[in-house]
């Protein structure tokens, strides 16, 4: 197990380095940050001085190396636009995104598994078929469209829920949460559904097909032959076997939820990291973009690692026997 983790960590580092290099090499195509930083009345000298000061005159491998040197020490530089520490801005924005992601992930996983199991057990039932057909909509509609439709229906027409923002937040010192106020909770509903709907339908369809596969296995037949009740068979024997492959996909989808939050946050003007990133692109705020991309890569790599370790907990066959 230790060998495995060490090896995976090594691979993860390599992936991070490559992902970072690719991200860095793209920044030159986004535009020149200096155009935005200096106003109309700039001189060529000013431009040149700032360029040298920011280190933008150097080739990108050198920039990348310097950036890594600083980054491993926790220093991600100053935002060009806001002039503040990037890490400080991130810490301020992170709670919004994390709360949104956590709520929509919980919604996606719980409802996805429950509906998946239901549609698998009642395979030919009317309700199950209805759910399956409806789920096609969830899979095929893009997130932003779902968001706009939800806003149109619940905010514009019915006026039940707010269409943008986080509502009132409570500051807990290092974390500001929207979970403690009514307006904060209300504000969470639409964006979490918009963000989680696709993942929910995906998980549901996956759980259904895996479960159907498992229910065909001999050990399920044998469990029936032992006289176990359908309930024990479905929820004890079948569900656990179903979860083995499903856990990988869920893990990767959690990463996707945070990464795709960009779109949802834009639609709902949610003050999180995704919105920060979109604004940073418009302003060519390289330190913010770099930090965001690094954060997303680290997250994906970590989730993958955790999923691999989780596997061993669910499936005893993958536990290396320590004889």
């Amino acid at each position: 197990m230790l060998t495995f983790i060490v090896r995976r960590l090594g691979q993860s580092l390599l992936v991070l380095l490559v992902a970072g290099a690719v991200a860095f090499s793209m920044f030159r195509f986004v535009g020149d940050p200096i155009d935005n930083m200096l106003g109309q009345e700039r001189t060529l000298e000013d431009v040149e001085r700032l360029r040298v000061q920011l280190g933008l005159d150097q080739p990108f491998p050198v920039q990348y190396f310097k950036y890594l040197q600083e980054a491993v020490q926790g220093n991600f530089g100053l935002s060009y636009r806001q002039g503040r520490e990037v890490s400080e801005i991130f810490l301020e924005r992170a709670p919004a995104t994390l709360e949104l992601a956590a709520i929509s992930a919980t919604f996606a996983v719980l409802l996805g598994i429950a509906l998946g199991v239901y549609t698998a057990i009642r395979r030919d039932g009317f309700v199950a078929n209805l759910i399956m057909s409806a789920s096609l909509i969830g899979v095929s509609l893009p997130t932003f469209l779902i968001g706009i439709l939800l806003i149109y229906l619940f905010s514009v027409e019915l006026g039940w829920l707010p269409s943008f923002g986080r509502g009132d937040v409570v500051n807990l010192g290092w974390w500001n949460t929207g979970l403690l106020t009514e307006s904060g909770l209300k504000a969470l509903i639409l964006p979490s559904i918009a963000l989680g709907l696709y993942q929910m339908t995906l998980i549901m369809r996956l759980v259904r097909s895996e479960m159907l596969e498992v229910l065909r296995q001999d050990y399920i037949r044998f469990a029936r032959a032992r006289g176990l009740s359908e309930r024990t068979i479905n929820f004890r024997h079948a569900l656990k076997n179903t979860m083995v492959p499903v856990v990988t996909i869920i893990g990767l989808q959690l990463g996707a939820i945070i990464a795709f939050a960009i779109i949802t946050e834009t639609v709902f003007q949610w003050p999180g990291l995704g919105l920060l990133f979109i604004n940073a692109i418009q302003f060519v705020d390289i330190p913010v973009m770099a930090a965001y991309l690094m954060m997303i890569s680290v997250m994906f790599v970590l989730i993958n690692l955790i999923v691999d370790i989780l596997y061993a907990f669910i499936d005893p066959r993958l536990r290396v026997s320590s004889k």
């Binding site: 032959a225 024990t232 024997h237 066959r317």
Partner: protein, 563 residues
């Protein structure tokens, strides 16, 4: 005589299909007394498993009992509701399935599965259930039961898992056990142990056992009464000795004559002629267009010298710290031109690994393999391609060795096109010709593998292997997944190939009577080593190595069978 514990009276099972009602079981009756083992024998599709499923109430819808009665200890159970049937399952009637590798849930410990079943049927505390479970494991002769209790199924070998399955079936002292092909997936030596255990338990606990099997040897060794089924109907039923010794029905006679005999060598395998479903294999037509077999320079087509294969058992960060498992350990043998060379041994003995190394599916870790004098381990890519064309393989499982998404024509043509032997148009002609020669219907080429039976699929595998006109054929357990009747057909085809086309063969099997009939010389393998190599006759008459003697002694004795 004691009263029967289970009575089946005129049982008929129906499955409605689009083409009308199909009756997989028709008018079947038999009794089972406490402590008695009744064999139910027949080929696949004869309805023998379906009868067992009907008894335990596990018919897959839309199959249902249309007529007849099933009585368990004086209580009629065939018309009970789903809940009442479930209450009987496991408590009154236990079941043992064919494949012990798949009938246990891999994610729960053996103990959890036992305790769960015990607590379901008997109202006992979890401590008592645990004690009972350990006692059961001990009873089915699992060593260190208390320790094994906490282990997962994958930590048990096949035979041990089947013992666990038996323990599970015994959890609540059932009065009937339905054992559906309980030893088909096991090695001969393990098979004998498991059957002995079933016999012991039946006598000791007075459990009636319905033993469903297609293996006449198992029937002869284990059962007192036997029911022979064909196409859903009982053709003959009675004392095992009487049925095997003096069969009355023509089908039974034909079935018994198709069982390969361990003692006498016959020129061809007698086929089951009942029902008239034989398809002709046109060997003469095939031989006409076959290139004349070239003799190898030394008279030995294949020479295997000291080959070794190691698999990584536990990998480590540093390659030299890896621990290895030696699957094949310095094995050497020669195969002469036109010879059928047999390799026998239990699973895990390395016989399939040897075959895969010769077929270049596995690399060789040590030693050399010479084909017609050329060292195949030192060949470049081009040489390997030429070599592969000469060597073809037939696998054990006709269900998984054919790609389900390819048509039969594409499957058979693949080696031709892949190795660039024939252009597409010619390959098409060759494929149709081959399929016709191995006895498949005219339109077989455009069908998919799932539309064929096991025997027909094995014919497709043979056609694929013959497509490149090889000189050497590797048959890895080619008939172990097939019924006796189909087995005879396939083995006869292989014999014809060897005789008329001069093919040289490596024949791998754990079925000693089959090896006796097929092979000229035989090698015995155990734990990666070749223990003994003899002419077939000599090996069966005077085995030298103690292990060979042990293997031969475990061969089902078919003394009752007429010569």
């Amino acid at each position: 005589m004691t009263d029967p514990v289970l009575s089946i009276r005129n049982l008929t099972v129906e499955i409605p299909t689009r083409r009308g009602l199909f009756r997989p079981v028709e008018n079947v009756s038999y009794d089972l007394r406490p402590g008695e083992i009744r064999g139910v024998v027949g080929e696949s599709g004869a309805g023998k498993s379906m009868t067992g499923n009907a008894v335990i109430g596990l018919l897959d819808p839309p199959a249902h009992i249309a007529e007849g009665e099933i009585w368990l200890k004086g209580r009629r159970i065939d018309h009970l509701g789903a809940e009442d049937k479930r209450a009987i399952r496991g408590k009154e009637i236990g079941m043992i399935f064919q494949d012990p590798l798949t009938s246990l849930n891999p994610l729960f410990t053996v103990g959890e599965q036992l305790v769960e079943t015990i607590q379901l049927h008997l109202k006992v505390s979890s401590d008592e259930a645990r004690e009972r479970a350990i006692a059961l494991l001990d009873r089915v002769s699992i060593p260190n039961p208390a320790e094994r209790f906490n282990q997962y199924p994958h930590q048990f070998s096949g035979g041990m898992r089947q013992r666990v399955v038996i323990a599970l079936a015994l959890c609540s002292d059932p009065s009937v056990i339905v054992a559906d092909e309980p030893t088909t997936a096991l090695d001969v030596s393990i098979q004998a142990q498991v059957l002995d255990l079933i016999k012991e338990l039946a006598a000791e606990r007075q459990v009636g056992v319905i033993l469903v099997t297609h293996d006449m040897g198992v029937i002869a060794d284990t059962t007192e009464e036997v029911t022979v089924m064909y196409a859903g109907k009982v053709v003959e039923s009675g004392k095992t000795d009487r049925i095997l010794g003096a069969p009355e029905h023509e089908y039974t006679r034909s079935l018994i004559s198709a069982v390969p005999r361990p003692h006498v060598k016959l020129k061809r395998f007698p086929q089951v002629s009942y029902g008239g479903r034989e398809t002709e294999f046109k060997i003469e037509d095939l031989a006409r267009n076959w290139p004349k077999p070239e003799a190898s320079s030394s008279g030995k087509l294949l020479e295997v010298k000291e080959i070794t294969k190691q698999f990584v058992a536990k990998s480590s960060i540093i390659p030299s710290w890896n621990s290895y498992l030696t699957a094949v350990d310095h094995v050497s043998f020669d195969i002469r031109d036109g010879e059928v060379f047999g390799l026998v041994g239990e699973s895990g003995s390395g016989k399939s690994t040897v075959a895969r190394m010769i077929a270049t599916l596995y690399g060789v870790d040590g030693g050399r393999i010479l084909f017609d004098g050329e060292d195949m381990t030192a060949m470049d890519a081009e040489g390997i391609a030429r070599y592969r064309r000469q060597i073809q393989m037939i696998f054990q499982d006709p269900f998984s060795s054919l790609n389900p998404r390819m048509t039969v024509a594409d499957i058979v043509a693949e080696p031709l096109l892949h190795l660039g032997i024939l252009p597409k148009a010619d390959a098409k002609l060759r494929v149709r010709e081959l399929l016709d020669r191995v006895g498949l219907a005219k339109d077989a080429w455009r069908k998919y593998p799932h539309e064929f039976s096991g025997g027909q699929r094995q014919r497709i595998s043979i056609a694929r292997a013959l497509a490149t006109q090889p000189r050497f054929l590797i048959c890895d357990e080619p008939t172990s997944a097939l019924d006796v009747s189909i087995q005879a057909q396939i083995l006869n085809i292989l014999k014809d190939l060897q005789e008329h086309l001069g093919l040289t063969m490596l024949f791998i099997s754990h079925d000693l009577p089959v090896v006796r009939q097929m092979c000229d010389r035989v090698g015995v393998m155990k734990q990666g080593q070749l223990l003994e190599l003899q002419e077939t006759q000599a090996l069966f008459d005077a085995p030298q190595h103690p292990y060979t003697r042990e293997l031969l002694s475990l061969m089902p004795r078919l003394e009752q069978l007429p010569g």
